[in-house]
């Protein structure tokens, strides 16, 4: 059966497993099998409408399914599927604790976004 390679950031949702054997004749079926085996990964891959999120890139071998037939792309038993995450990391890993003296010259974001932004400060750390 095809094997789906899970990137490190998403292994928290696959009990640490890096290679998951999935059943199915298409990408869609394979992903359904994945989310059946590991339900908590689902919101990280699919939006509320059940569509693959735009920042999720899935490759069969070297090729992006976006360049093939999307989730309808057929897969073979020996195919290797690779999920590619969007990772921000580069240098810091501050868990949101950034130096207080640094002041952005960026336009201040709206307060509604500010709340959202501050709640999501962990994004800032990459490394």
């Amino acid at each position: 059966m095809p094997v789906l390679r899970i990137p490190t950031p998403l292994r928290a949702y696959t009990n640490g497993q890096s290679n998951i054997t999935v059943a199915g004749a298409s990408v869609s079926e394979a992903l359904t099998d994945l989310t059946t085996q590991y339900p908590t990964i689902k919101p990280h891959l699919f939006n509320e409408g059940g569509e693959l999120r735009p920042f999720v890139n899935l490759f069969i071998g070297e090729n992006n399914i976006k360049d093939l037939q999307g989730v309808e792309t057929p897969i073979k038993a020996d195919d290797k599927l690779v999920l590619i995450p969007s990772i921000a990391g580069g240098c810091r890993c501050e868990d949101g604790a950034l130096p207080s003296e640094a002041i952005s010259s960026n336009k201040k974001i709206a307060s509604s976004q500010r709340t959202r932004a501050l709640l999501a400060m962990t994004w800032l750390g990459g490394v």
Partner: protein, 384 residues
């Protein structure tokens, strides 16, 4: 007209001159080249060191941070003697010690939509060593608008990615990632950390790609993405194609100038003053918590990873790692008054958001996390 090499330079770069693919002319090309390195941290450290050693004529360094001792596990351009100093100054001194014959220009400021085009305009190439999505999209768009190659790398725990995004010849970063993940949807390094040597591995590949592009040799990672995993010791490559619907480099691109990247990504790229009242209303300070626990029964929820508890822990706290929180809500009682905490308050803020959406109304986030507790309440606990 390429600059000549001095006698000293011929000696210094002799191991390059011996390689036919570089040779005297190649070395003169490098001397004539300029590279902007955005970020002087994990990736920027090896990148800057090797490019300086390689004899790139002019390097630009952008960073507004100061060196912290927790950087030194991986940011090898800095040292114990430069803790507390500006990263750009620390890096410049090290680079000029390594190679006094090159020019180092420093920009001790956040890289923003206001200054990025001005800073990047005079460089041949941009190296993305940033640590957040807003700056990554900014770096990409600047490179597209100025028609320069963007040598990209990103790291997380044991994983690394490298590519050369060069819209003139292939896809750009947005072709692969049209939009960033919503805040909080993908775990950040705050839950993960990074193997200190990983940015060394990935940064030196990034520097290799930069040299290849400048010298016009080999097959640069244009249209290809390298995926590295240190644990499995695997290097995988995937093909990247130009996205015909790309909003910055596609034929019908509608983004023609730099935008507000923090708004686009829903996260700040740089530090802002903490003025979010909605957030503050759900926060508790460590000093308040220290008072409250004397009299009230408060449930403490620690959302860090289990191995972090070995570094520091609060007695009687329940540990549910953030990644498992959604699946383990049944272990918690929404009637309890609860204080949620992590290392510095960010993961727990996301945990609080998750709990609030699940109907938990009596939860407060410990501002500054257990590190703030260690600083202000219990100095026997270590900071990390």
């Amino acid at each position: 007209m390429l600059p000549e090499l001095s006698r000293d330079e011929i000696l210094r770069y002799s191991r390059h001159l011996l390689i036919p693919e570089v040779g005297l002319e190649g070395q003169r090309k490098l001397k004539n080249s300029s590279i902007l390195i955005v970020g002087t941290g994990g990736l920027g450290s090896p990148v800057a060191l090797y490019l300086a050693a390689a004899g790139i004529g002019r390097l630009g360094l952008v960073d507004y941070d100061v060196v912290d001792s927790s950087n030194l596990q991986r940011q090898v351009i800095h040292g114990t003697s430069t803790v507390g100093k500006l990263k750009v100054d620390s890096a410049k001194a090290k680079l000029l010690d390594l190679n006094p014959g090159i020019q180092i220009d420093v920009y001790n400021e956040p890289y923003t939509s206001e200054n990025a085009l001005r800073i990047a305009r005079d460089y041949d190439m941009i190296l993305d060593g940033t640590d957040n999505f807003p700056t990554r999209y900014l770096t990409n768009d600047v490179a597209v608008f100025l028609g320069k190659p963007n040598v990209y790398a990103s790291i997380y725990r044991f994983d690394g990615q490298v590519s050369v995004f060069y819209a003139k010849e292939g896809p750009c970063y947005r072709c692969l990632f049209p939009e960033p993940p919503p805040p909080g949807l993908v775990p950040s390094c705050a839950e993960g950390g990074v193997l200190g040597v990983l940015p060394g591995t990935i940064g030196t590949i990034q520097a290799t790609e930069a040299l290849k592009v400048l010298l016009g040799i080999g097959e640069p990672l244009i249209g290809k993405l390298l995926l590295y995993n240190a644990l499995d010791m695997t290097f995988d490559f995937v093909k990247l194609k130009k996205n015909p619907n790309c909003r910055v480099c596609g034929p019908n691109a509608d983004i023609k100038e730099l935008i507000d990247y923090e708004e686009f990504c829903g996260v700040p790229s740089h530090d802002h003053e903490d003025e979010g009242s909605a957030v503050a209303a759900h926060e508790i300070t460590v000093t308040d918590l220290a008072e409250r626990v004397k009299t009230n029964h408060l449930k403490l929820l620690d959302v860090r990873e289990p191995h972090e508890l070995q570094i520091s822990a609060l007695p009687n706290a329940v540990n549910i790692p953030l990644g498992q929180l959604a699946a383990r809500l049944s272990e918690l009682d929404s009637a309890d008054e609860m204080v949620i905490f992590c290392k510095s308050g960010s993961r727990s803020a996301r945990g609080l958001e998750l709990l609030a959406s699940a109907g938990f109304k009596k939860v407060k986030n410990l501002k500054g996390g257990i590190n703030a507790w260690a600083r202000e309440v219990d100095s026997s606990l270590p900071l990390y």
